[in-house]
Amino acid sequence: MAGLHIENLSMRFDLPDGGSVQALKDVSIDLKPGELLSVLGPSGCGKTTLLNIVAGFLAPTEGRITLNGSRVTGPGPDRGMVFQQGALFEWMNVRENVGFGPRMKGMKAKPKREIVDHLLDVVGLRDFKEKAVYELSGGMQQRVALARCLANEPDVILMDEPLGALDALTREKMQGLVLKLWKETGKTIVLITHSVEEALLLGERLIVMAPRPGRIHKEYNLPFADMGVGRDLREVKKDPRFAETREEILSMIWNMEEEIMGSAGEPV
């Protein structure tokens, strides 16, 4: 059974005061190899929790996850992670960061160097190999994070708001890069975002989650990711279907927020 299967996942956090939070309730997702899924939802709806469970950092209270037929019971190199920021190792330079996964596997220096050089070419950081990561801009750091993740040849790449800390222009460039990598590597990708546009652009499939308890609210199959590969993403955004879907999702999330805040919820 190839692909990533999330079955009836529920997660309840027990709070120190005796209460508990139902972060996820009955979430099921099936991903075929090579699919690109974006997950969208208001803050606190359990997106990070979902990703952490898939990555194996958290054990769900109910449900199970299988990847290519074997059950997920902990973190592993078959599922790579890209975090928002600050997950690079400052004590290593760019080359060492990218080569971290191969090094952990005990790979020999020569094949490791080939992998690192190739990936740095792919993400456009060939000339920054020996730089310290804190000398790079935020966008470059995320390129390193992508390359580091790819160096390990994971089956699935999990991204938790990977572009959330970048400025708009850099962000747009990076969205293009993510699409390019997706097409070129054929990896299965789960990307979490709270930007509706990003979710539309980078989701072959798009899941909108609702909070309290965190659950799947609606699912879309979208053409924009395929359209966007190798093209200017601004062209894609001009597509009338794009604007239509965006408006639909925006008002959906707007209503969710209203429910949480009560009718007094004012736009901020």
Binding site: A55, F57, L88, W91, G101, M104, A132, C149, N152
Partner: protein, 444 residues
């Protein structure tokens, strides 16, 4: 209640002292401001301003906004030495910068003796004021004639001396003679007369107290001039002090600090790691560490002396304890401070628990450990000096303690300066090592 009254009295004494010092402090601040204005004027003449930095008047909170002005630092240090030299009559300074010094040389004054019958006669007292560290015989003078006879006395600089001038006179005090005037000015018991070289006072019993002017300068026994301190440093570096050279004393102190600190780090860092990684270890050691941390190492000196004597073992135990808690706490917060996403990233990249420890947790904790090491070294250096003040055969602390017992103020001052320089150098060294080993510090 008595205590409160006592403390209140003490407080008033302190406040009075502060009040006395206040004008000098204000003058110092005024000088700082004056030089600041002068310097900014000079700078504007040399290089007119092109930026808007001067508009930035509020610089609170952002420490980096204010960089240290090198010119101010240089002036500040030079001024300290100038003041020091001026008030000690240093030979390094041109004479016009000296504060008025103590009277030195020979002077005379006349006194008028009045006999019980009302007869008066004048006699001259020759006063020889000589450097305090040489003994000098009273100068020879011709006794002269009349009922009052001439006297002489040698007095060390900064000192005063009692002289019963009538003892050699025809009619002495015991016969009912009294001294009624000095240099023509009348004087009575308890009174004083100003003379060319200082003051002549009369005790209630009628003895003259000859007090040559001490000037504004400090007596070397209070504050020796810079060159005296320097020459003591040279002498002690060459000949040693109490059977050990300056370098040996320093070496002993540094040896204790380094060994104590290294032992403390060797135990403290693993302890901190264990506390940061295991809730059991954390629970076990938290009460001990949190209790021991606020106990000043100096308070342990008596206990350590009782247990281990005043030898090297006791000192090293003390410094070990001084460094131990600081290093343990630094390592603990270094471990707990690791961003969980870094650990997660490492696991997702296929790292084992041990590899996460080796490649993530430990390097991530290094900046905190360096910060701890800086603090610990400072505390250790202070503690070793204090411990040597209390009890030691060697070390810079012992050196200044013994010197102070013999009032060798120059050695004490030299010791204090050496202690400061060494402490500063240690800190610089650790900072240098820090830049070398954890260049990413504060940039994560």
């Amino acid at each position: 209640m008595q205590v409160i009254a006592n403390l209140w009295g003490e407080l008033l004494t302190v406040l009075t002292a502060v009040g006395t010092a206040l004008p000098y402090i204000l003058a110092y601040v005024a000088l700082i401001l004056l030089l600041m204005v002068v310097w900014s004027g000079v700078k504007r003449l040399l290089r007119p301003r092109h930026d808007y930095g001067s508009l930035k008047t509020v610089k609170f909170g952002d420490e980096s906004a204010v960089a240290s002005n090198t010119v101010a630092s240089v002036i500040s240090i030079v001024l300290i030495f100038v003041l020091w030299g001026a008030f000690t009559g240093s030979r390094l300074l041109p004479g016009f910068l000296h504060m008025p010094g103590p009277f030195q040389g020979t002077a005379t004054f006349d006194y008028t003796l009045t006999g019980p019958d009302g007869a008066t006669d004048d006699a001259t007292v020759t006063v020889l004021v000589h450097p305090a560290d040489v003994t000098t015989a009273d100068p020879e003078v011709d006794p002269g004639t009349g009922i009052a006879r001439n006297d002489s006395i040698a007095i060390g600089m900064f000192r005063s001396a009692l002289l019963r001038v009538s003892d050699n006179d025809e009619i002495t005090r015991d016969d009912g003679a009294e001294i009624t005037a000095i240099d023509g000015s009348p004087i009575a018991p308890g009174g004083a007369v100003r003379t060319g070289f200082g003051h002549v006072l009369m005790t209630p019993k009628g003895t003259l107290n000859i007090a040559p002017s001490a000037g504004w300068q400090m007596e070397p026994i209070w504050l020796p001039p810079p060159e005296a301190v320097w020459s003591q440093a040279v002498t002690i570096a060459r000949d040693g002090f109490r059977g050990a050279s300056l370098w040996e004393h320093l070496g002993y102190s540094l040896f204790r600090v380094v060994v104590g600190f290294l032992l403390g780090a060797l135990v403290g860092i693993p302890l901190g790691y264990a506390m940061g990684l295991s809730d059991w270890f954390r629970g076990w050691f938290d009460p001990i560490v949190e209790f021991m941390r606020p106990v000043p190492p100096l308070a342990l000196i008596p206990l350590v002396i009782i247990w281990a004597g005043i030898g090297e073992t006791g000192k090293i135990i003390l410094l070990f304890l001084a460094a131990l808690w600081i290093m343990a706490i630094a390592a603990r917060s270094g471990v707990s401070g690791v961003r969980i996403s870094k650990v997660h990233a490492a696991y997702s990249l296929g790292a084992s628990k041990w590899q996460v420890m080796r490649h993530v947790i430990i390097p991530n904790s290094l900046p905190e450990i360096f910060t701890g090491a800086r603090v610990a070294m400072g505390v250790c250096w202070g503690t070793v000096v204090a411990a040597e003040l209390v009890a030691a055969q060697t070390g810079v602390g012992m050196m200044i303690m013994v010197a102070s017992k013999f009032q060798n103020t120059d050695i004490v001052l030299m010791g204090v300066i050496v202690i400061g320089i060494v402490g500063f150098t240690i800190d610089l060294g650790i900072r240098w090592l820090e830049r070398l080993m954890v260049p990413w510090k504060g940039k994560g």
